[in-house]
């Protein structure tokens, strides 16, 4: 589903269904080429956009559970999320009661949070975007980026590995000089069936800082995708955030009013 990648991997870009098929076709051809040629020949841009699109449709609806694990406590919550196109998303906590109703609305680059206890929507200022979302290991930035991936980074295919008989492409994404990215590089591991297996953020000493790993891969809404992911800081192995997809639908009919401030505050869950 769309929100997953939107949530988890910064800068995942959406293509249309048609484009996605073209990419798949390309990749099929490319992987045939790969068997004979050097693996460096793959089209990394197509691979990355294809992977993004794999978990995203024209619109989507998902239910998921989030586990925030800390050394002394942990918290499990349930969320619902809707997306439309590449720009709009609404994420709302539905359980437990204590956090139910807390919601996040994204319109393009702009984001608002809503807290029922305050009955107030707050537009997130730029400076807060790198902070933690809902106490998790994800930042608002992780959830907001849409087309930055291709705009701000240079993508390089650096290695090809094998996983369960499928090729896994390791891709280094290096931010351009004046891009608004703090990382030294980001490294993606994408399986040839377009499932994103791992995403690692490196600092400018090229030491890994944060890593998101796909723990389970399955089929949801008719697509192969990572169904459980864990995000954590590399030097804090005892704390992490896990996101698990419980249910998801692609290309559903989401009403336009879903992505408005009114809807953010109304607390309606479908």
């Amino acid at each position: 589903m769309a929100i997953s990648t939107r949530l988890i991997s910064p800068a995942l870009q959406c293509l249309t269904q048609v484009a996605r098929r073209v990419v798949l076709l390309n990749l099929a051809l490319l992987s045939m080429l790969c068997s004979t040629h050097a693996s460096e020949k793959i089209d990394v841009v197509a691979l990355v956009t294809g992977s993004i699109d794999q978990t995203r449709g024209l619109s989507s609806y998902a239910e998921m559970s989030m586990l925030i694990k800390r050394p002394s406590w942990q918290r499990q919550s349930t969320l619902k999320a809707w997306t439309r196109g590449r720009e709009d998303a609404l994420i709302r906590f539905v359980a437990p009661t204590r956090v139910a109703g807390n919601a996040l609305l994204k319109q393009g680059e702009r984001m608002w949070t809503y807290t029922p206890k305050l009955n107030k929507s707050i537009r997130l200022p730029g400076g807060m975007m790198s902070q933690s979302w809902a106490g998790s290991d994800f930042s608002y930035n992780d959830m907001s980026r849409s087309d930055k991936w291709l705009r701000d980074y240079t993508l390089n295919h650096v290695d090809t590995e094998q996983d369960e008989g499928l090729a896994v492409y390791v891709i280094d994404a290096t931010p351009r000089e004046d891009a608004a990215v703090v990382w030294g590089k980001e490294q993606l591991r994408i399986r040839e069936d377009l499932v994103l297996l791992e995403l690692t953020y490196f600092d400018q000493d090229m030491e890994p800082v944060r890593r998101m790993v796909s723990l389970a891969i399955g089929e949801l809404g008719g697509r192969a995708m990572a169904t459980r992911m864990r995000m954590q800081e590399v030097d804090k192995p005892e704390q992490y955030t896990e996101l698990e997809y419980l249910d998801m639908d692609f290309d559903v009919d989401v009403p336009d009013r879903m992505f408005t401030l009114f809807s953010l505050q109304s607390g309606r869950s479908r």
């Binding site: 790198s130 351009r176 004046d178 703090v182 030294g184």
Partner: protein, 413 residues
């Protein structure tokens, strides 16, 4: 004016006083010592307080304020490029008000992020060549200084670099409000890391080239937008004239002097003068009691002598003059010794007292970490003069005692 006989009488009285002082060597030595230590200590403490004041004033002015700062009217409420104005060269105030220098800057709030941390800062676009008037000139820079106004790299403070866990040559992301009011994010490379006298500047100030920043913020209607112009005069006292003149030249701008920009510092600077006066009077009043006590004792001890002088025909006025002279004589010698002692102590301190062990609390008072005593001639003259005045005042009581002495009283002893 005075007849020669009066002058010779005065000379005789002076002689009397001097002999009386010398006669009680032991007692008067302690009195001298008390006065000298009190005046010396006051001189030293006043020099330190004055040093603090001067230091605070310099810090306030050499921050980014200058003696006078020009800003657009709305800038105080909304510090963004929407409240910018066009570059104002040349600045001229005529020959009467010599200018040390001026700097034009863009100074807007921004958010800076590294891989690990995010902080709010003031992003300042400068032309390094013009910053000889601000704290910028005192920076000790690791890495490179900004090459010029077109240098699109950053100069950040040591404390900020430590907080962000970044260093020279690394990239950071800066978020700021562009000319169109929308937020702009951009990656910047760190050219250098500076050490500033005050930690707060290291935490809060981030510098980049002015022209590069103008380009990064996008277009306004202004050709070369700046948000502030700060001006340093050769003499701080000229700031009133300069402020009026600049306000007349640029009616569309807000012209403020440093006292208006930093009212808390101005208040403290004023308070320091009062503190010095209070300190002085506390010490002096304690001293006065000692002086009065000693002199009364002296007078009482000499009842017979004074009575004889009266019997020989010395009138009350001359007696009064003699006692006052004695008192002031002690005071003058004591004060001079005290001032010399104070000056010696100030020079003994040399480069000042290093307060870096208390740097955080010291900076809360807007001081740098070395407290350097400052001696001014005005202070020395003022306190010397006031001390002698205190001596005159103190001589009132023993003199009154002396006047009551009659030959008859002396004979009955």
């Amino acid at each position: 004016m005075f007849s020669s006989s009066f002058i010779s009488t005065l000379a005789m009285l002076f002689n009397f006083s001097l002999r009386n002082i010398v006669r009680y060597r032991r007692r008067n030595f302690f009195l001298f010592a008390a006065i000298a230590v009190a005046v010396g200590g006051t001189t030293l403490s006043n020099a330190l307080i004055r040093g603090w004041q001067v230091d605070m004033l310099e810090t306030a002015v050499s921050g980014l304020t200058g003696h006078i700062k020009l800003q657009a009217p709305g800038f105080a409420d909304d510090p963004s490029l929407q409240n910018a104005f066009s570059s104002l060269t040349p600045i001229s105030l005529g020959d009467n008000v010599p200018i040390l220098g001026f700097a034009q800057r863009i100074n807007i709030p921004a958010v800076i992020s590294s891989e690990r941390e995010t902080r709010g800062v003031a992003l300042v676009g400068v032309d390094p060549a013009n910053e000889g008037i601000s704290l910028y000139r005192d920076f000790v820079i690791e890495g490179e200084d900004l090459g010029g106004p077109e240098d699109g790299r950053l100069l950040i403070g040591r404390a900020l670099a430590e907080t962000l866990q970044t260093r020279v040559g690394r990239r950071v992301v800066v978020i700021m409000e562009g000319a169109d009011g929308k937020s702009r994010e951009r990656g910047y490379r760190i050219a250098g890391v500076f050490d500033a006298p005050m930690k707060i500047s290291e935490e809060l100030l981030v510098f980049t080239g002015l022209e590069a920043m103008q380009a990064a913020l996008g277009n306004t209607q202004l050709r070369t937008p700046i948000t502030e112009l700060s001006l340093v005069l050769q003499a701080e006292e000229d700031r009133g004239v300069a402020q009026r003149e600049l306000a007349a030249q640029h009616p569309q701008l807000v012209v403020k002097d440093w006292r208006e920009m930093q009212p808390q510092v101005a208040e403290i600077v004023d308070l320091v003068d009062a503190t010095m006066a209070i300190w002085f009077f506390l010490i002096m009043s304690a001293l006065t009691f000692g002086l009065v006590n000693t002199l009364i004792a002296t007078v009482m001890q000499r009842t017979r002598e004074l009575g004889m002088l009266r019997a020989l025909g010395m009138n009350q006025r001359l007696l009064l003059i003699q006692v006052v002279m004695e008192c002031v004589g002690i005071m003058v010698v004591g004060v001079i010794a005290g001032l010399l002692l104070g000056i010696a102590m100030v020079f003994g301190l040399g480069d000042g007292i290093d307060l870096s062990a208390f740097s955080e609390s010291v900076e809360a008072f807007g001081m740098s970490t070395v407290l350097k005593p400052v001696l001014t001639l005005e202070d020395l003259l003022l306190f010397g003069g006031l001390s002698v005045l205190v001596g005159v005042f103190a001589s009132y009581f023993p003199a009154r005692r002396a006047l009551k002495i009659s030959p008859l009283m002396a004979m009955s002893r």
